[in-house]
Point group: none
Chain length 131, copies 4
């Protein structure tokens, strides 16, 4: 699929899966009514324990992003896109805030932080993997 899971990321795998699916819905890669790959399929593809995927789906179901369809699997729910677009912004914002909070508290001055941001963003756009 469209997933980019990093087991050594600090972020729990189940949460990475949750986020990736939300981002896919927010970006229109998945739209209301689409069938999401089954737990087993995803687990096999991502080389992850099926329980982990199941936990992700459970979380997505509680958030109203996915709906279980008996005998079929999970479908993207009505109104999921708006919710995902909103959550995407919020998830990224929180991560940004928490990082900047530590940067600020660490005593780095504003110029250095700005510079780090520029460099990191450029590196990310170039597709580096060193984070």
């Amino acid at each position: 699929m469209f997933f980019d899971i990093d087991p050594a990321n600090g972020v729990p795998i189940y949460d990475q899966v949750v986020r990736q699916i939300k981002y896919a819905v927010a970006g229109g890669v998945l739209v209301t009514g689409d069938r999401v790959p089954s737990v087993r399929e995803l687990a096999k593809e991502l080389v992850i324990n099926p329980n982990t995927i199941a936990r992700s789906f459970q979380s997505l179901q509680q958030d109203g992003i996915l709906e279980p369809m008996r005998g079929v699997g999970f479908l993207v729910a009505h109104g999921a896109k708006g919710e995902c677009v909103r959550q995407r912004r919020e998830l990224i914002r929180q991560r940004m805030m928490s990082g900047l909070k530590e940067a600020h508290q660490s005593g780095l001055n504003e110029d250095e932080i700005e510079k780090l941001f520029r460099q990191s963003w450029a590196a990310v756009k170039r597709g580096e993997k060193s984070a």
Copy 2:
């Protein structure tokens, strides 16, 4: 002292202590030869179990930031400042990179990410706590 520990932060307490001390050394608040508060003192001040502090100090010792002095306590080691300045930048950089990687991968466009950065940084400087 100069500590800002948040027990409900996700980041383990012992790691927060490690980082704060590295930042203090990087910023010149602590310099080579300075005696760091004893395990018991710090534990009492931060209302944290002494074992947790001991774990932080052990980690700092392995990194060559602190040196144990028998019967005295821990002292800031030779060359600690350079190392801490380096590590501070690296710790912040990694956090920045990993956040931006997720932002990029989430499909947010460059303008939105830039805007989030501006807003978040302004909020952090204003001292908000909403992250």
Copy 3:
């Protein structure tokens, strides 16, 4: 398993565990990819507090001998054998050096030291416990 822990040895228990595992890897008893007994299993078997074992494993992880596998346990890491063979020799060498240094410095002459070595080695091979 293959452990010989002596709680009244002077050497900390967690360090004895670390060494025994390194020796096991060096000797080929454990090979890359092998799953090491879980913290709880080992603790139960050796009648040691789980935290103590956890500390040993943490140390072995930092040395690159073991790798944690989420939800599974610890596995012997790639390249562990070479490292362990090297460390085994070094650990024994250091112990030998430090003992001989004291012997030399104590004023015992060479013949006496040689003789003590012969006698001790013979005793160890006979399996005596008087040290």
Copy 4:
């Protein structure tokens, strides 16, 4: 004096002092009736906490190696030499045994251990410090 103290040796400093004095008596460097340097002198010379030296002297007094002399200090006791010669051999022997026990248990074969002994002994005689 004739001391060779290594604070990072694992062996407690007070015990190193005890041993060194016993070795000096065993080797005839100190003989019955000789006055041993005062606690303060030794502490200053070895850059060690005076309490540590005091503890060493206390131990030596209990062993009958030193005798306190009011207003003078500590003197080497009657019969100390024989006792020290005996203890010297025993102390070295124990250290040898414990090292060889670990070597044996580590799986190193006899040839390797013999070789390590040769190399280490040669290095010690050359006066190396790497242990």
